[in-house]
């Protein structure tokens, strides 16, 4: 439960930017950002998933799963954002815009960002990509298969990553190649 609250708060903080977190500004931010709605639904699903051993909670959980199922269906069909529960997404996640976003069978550490039309995932849970913290993944990019993207790397829009990416690197193109070894992405990470 605490991890759910902390993670959701970190996600919200990235969307709020420097704004004071009054209740009305939080609600307005959630209404305006389809990506944030998708993240919150995903966090709720992960919370339910983590409590499945507690047999006494099952009546309550089944109600939760119904709500999660409807919300996830809406986010997937309505916004085209698929954040599968098979993905392990760290706190402070940021989804830009909407449409064609698929994150599944992968691990993302804290403070990652993805854009529209981004695909991150592998065929099975074991050979999915592993992405370390503060990685910026641009729109239309894809990361497929058992690759590792190191901390603070930047995946340019439209890049197709099929090999490991070193830390702080900027990769571009299809197939992706490193064009800068020391690229500072702290300026382009939204809300940090």
């Amino acid at each position: 439960m605490t991890s759910f609250v902390q993670a959701s708060r970190a996600d919200l903080q990235r969307y709020l930017g420097g704004e004071a977190a009054s209740l009305s500004s939080i609600l307005a931010t959630i209404r305006r950002n389809e990506g944030l709605q998708a993240i919150l639904v995903y966090r709720f699903g992960r919370l339910l998933d983590s409590k499945k051993e507690l047999v006494l909670l099952w009546p309550l959980l089944s109600m939760g799963w119904c709500i999660y199922g409807l919300a996830a269906l809406f986010v997937r069909r309505g916004y085209g954002i698929k954040l599968a529960l098979s993905a392990n997404i760290g706190a402070g996640f940021w989804v830009g815009h909407f449409g064609g976003i698929e994150v599944f069978n992968c691990r993302l550490a804290e403070r990652c960002s993805v854009g529209q039309q981004t695909k991150v995932g592998g065929a099975t849970q074991r050979d999915g990509p592993i992405i370390e913290d503060s990685v910026w993944i641009g729109a239309h990019a894809s990361i497929a298969g058992p690759v590792r993207v190191r901390s603070r790397a930047t995946i340019a829009p439209g890049a197709r990553v099929t090999k490991n990416v070193p830390g702080r690197a900027l990769v571009v193109g299809a197939p992706a190649r490193v064009v800068a070894r020391e690229y500072d992405n702290s300026r382009i990470l939204p809300g940090l």
């Binding site: 085209g80 064609g100 641009g138 729109a139 340019a156 439209g158 299809a174 382009i188």
Partner: protein, 205 residues
């Protein structure tokens, strides 16, 4: 605003229905074309911005203010698209009915055709959005970003990722994008909704 909408509507009728479509068919198109819906909601949003800037507070302005958030939500759910209302789109632009358009360019000239899954926007490091000329053809799954200019009559091949200027009538392609060919007449491409570009036709010149 109404003359622009009329120009859009005639382009959609020509592309979707062809010559000699009946009045009823034309009317039905209003409800069957998500691309047209995206354009209409953009036009309403743009007109609202202009009205607010001019200090206009008529009943129509108020009606736009109240209905626009709902209309935008509808556009997101139906077409998965978002067109920034501050961009300037000239009359007679065709946006794909398959949707997934996230576009916020400085300007789009008339006669331009944009296919599905296209992103046009600002560069992440702070450079402004691109300016797109007249009669441009943009294929599916393209990303155009940064402060660049796409010339009149230019062609952007499917799957291009572009952040550079494209001269008039040139063809850009590839990821990362580059100029593939100069002086190509894209009027045949713009006449249909087919998006399979014959590569030999482009390279052989």
């Amino acid at each position: 605003m109404w003359s622009l909408i009329a120009a859009d509507f005639s382009i959609y009728c020509a592309m979707r229905l062809g010559e000699g479509a009946g009045l009823l068919q034309r009317f039905a198109l209003c409800f069957r074309s998500p691309g047209l819906l995206v354009l209409l909601v953009y036009r309403a949003g743009h007109s609202y911005l202009n009205r607010r800037a001019n200090g206009n507070s008529s009943l129509l302005t108020l009606a736009l203010k109240l209905t626009l958030p709902i209309a935008r939500q509808l556009v997101i759910i139906v077409a998965k698209s978002d067109v920034a209302s501050h961009s300037i789109i000239e009359g007679g632009v065709y946006l794909s009915d398959s949707g997934y358009l996230i576009i916020g360019p400085q300007r789009i000239g008339k006669g331009t055709l944009i296919h599905d899954r296209v992103t046009i926007g600002v560069g992440a490091s702070g450079s402004g959005p691109p300016t797109i000329g007249e009669n441009v053809w943009i294929g599916p799954n393209c990303v155009l970003y940064g402060d660049s200019r796409i010339g009149n009559g230019a062609t952007v091949l499917p799957g291009t990722v572009l952040s550079m200027n494209v001269p008039d009538n040139a063809v850009a392609g590839g990821n990362p994008g580059s100029i593939v060919r100069l002086n190509f007449d894209n009027s045949r491409l713009r006449r249909t909704l087919a998006c399979n570009v014959d590569r030999e036709l482009l390279v052989g010149s």
